[in-house]
Amino acid sequence: MKKFKMRWPALKMEVMCDGISENQEALDILVDNMPVKAIQGHEMVGGWMLRARAVHLQKVPFELEAAQMKNEKMKDAPIGRVSLLFPQGGTTELLVKYDACVDDRDYIPVAQVAEKDLEVLKKVGRLQWQSATRTKEIYHVEFMEVE
């Protein structure tokens, strides 16, 4: 199964994300577009999620139909779940749950942050929340395939 890293250079932090059994074709497309850089954001109403609102897929467009993919409610997802929202053509949103969420909407799960990196993920999440609500620091996130 494919793996990738999420890295936040300004924070000098990174986490490993392992593919899961669901939606492997969707993960393949995401990974085939790496390396990708985006602006790291935060979910503002549904809970503790990192949210990158514009992940551009410039090499391979996302052409899977929504009905072909399995969904998962964010509130039921494990901590560390990496999910896509509205993947289509040249753009997708990408979310990572790092703590409790009340969001009961469907997302497309594609990967899971490694157990050993969950504390790092939580630190990044808390710093991003500080940025969104107070400091307004701009954090880049990089997605890189790991062989």
């Binding site: 850089k37 985006a38 609102r53 509205f86 289509q88 040249g90 609500t133």
Partner: protein
């Protein structure tokens, strides 16, 4: 009038420029509180309503593009119907977003509006896909610069809160 390829290339260029660097329109409106179109000026010369309404309208444009593209791919809609949906769903919020200072996204829509009726379905989808990418960048930067911290001044109230209030009012 641009060809669809020229318009798509122009949007793609702008999208590339604004993926990791801010959209200038968003910086003007959301970071520096400049209302270039005059929105909010007659209403106590404030910016908050411009943020609240303009940001939300443009936020949804990316979703409307998503759904029009899905309908174009999966359903038996004619180009005439798709063009009509595009005008119904996109023109009004895009124009309002421009009034609120998010101008370039409306310039792109106006250029699409001019050529849309002469396009093939795949061509419309290609331009809308690029437009959606650029709109997604706008959303990124609106979320970045919106002063979400003001929410701390308006804490959510629940049933227990009102119950305490009721008891205080009744002198219990």
């Amino acid at each position: 009038m641009k060809t669809w390829q020229e318009l798509k290339a122009e949007i793609d260029r702008e999208s590339l420029l604004t993926t990791l660097e801010p959209v200038q329109d968003v910086v003007d409106v959301f970071r520096y509180s400049i209302s270039k179109g005059g929105a909010g000026v007659p209403n106590d010369n404030q910016i908050f309503t411009t943020w609240f309404f303009g940001g939300a309208d443009v936020n949804y444009l990316a979703d409307w593009c998503y759904f029009i593209i899905e309908l174009a791919k999966k359903e038996n809609y004619s180009m005439e119907q798709l063009c009509q949906m595009t005008r119904f769903w996109i023109k009004q919020p895009s124009e309002f977003g421009s009034y609120c200072g998010l101008r370039k996204q409306y310039e792109f829509f106006q250029q699409l509006d001019e050529i849309m009726d002469g396009l093939e379905k795949s061509e419309l989808v290609a331009v809308l896909d690029s437009y959606r990418s650029y709109l997604s960048n706008i959303n990124v930067w609106v979320y970045q610069y919106m002063p979400w911290g003001v929410g701390r001044a308006f804490h959510r109230k629940d049933k227990a809160y009102y119950e305490v209030g009721r008891k205080l009012a009744e002198g219990i």
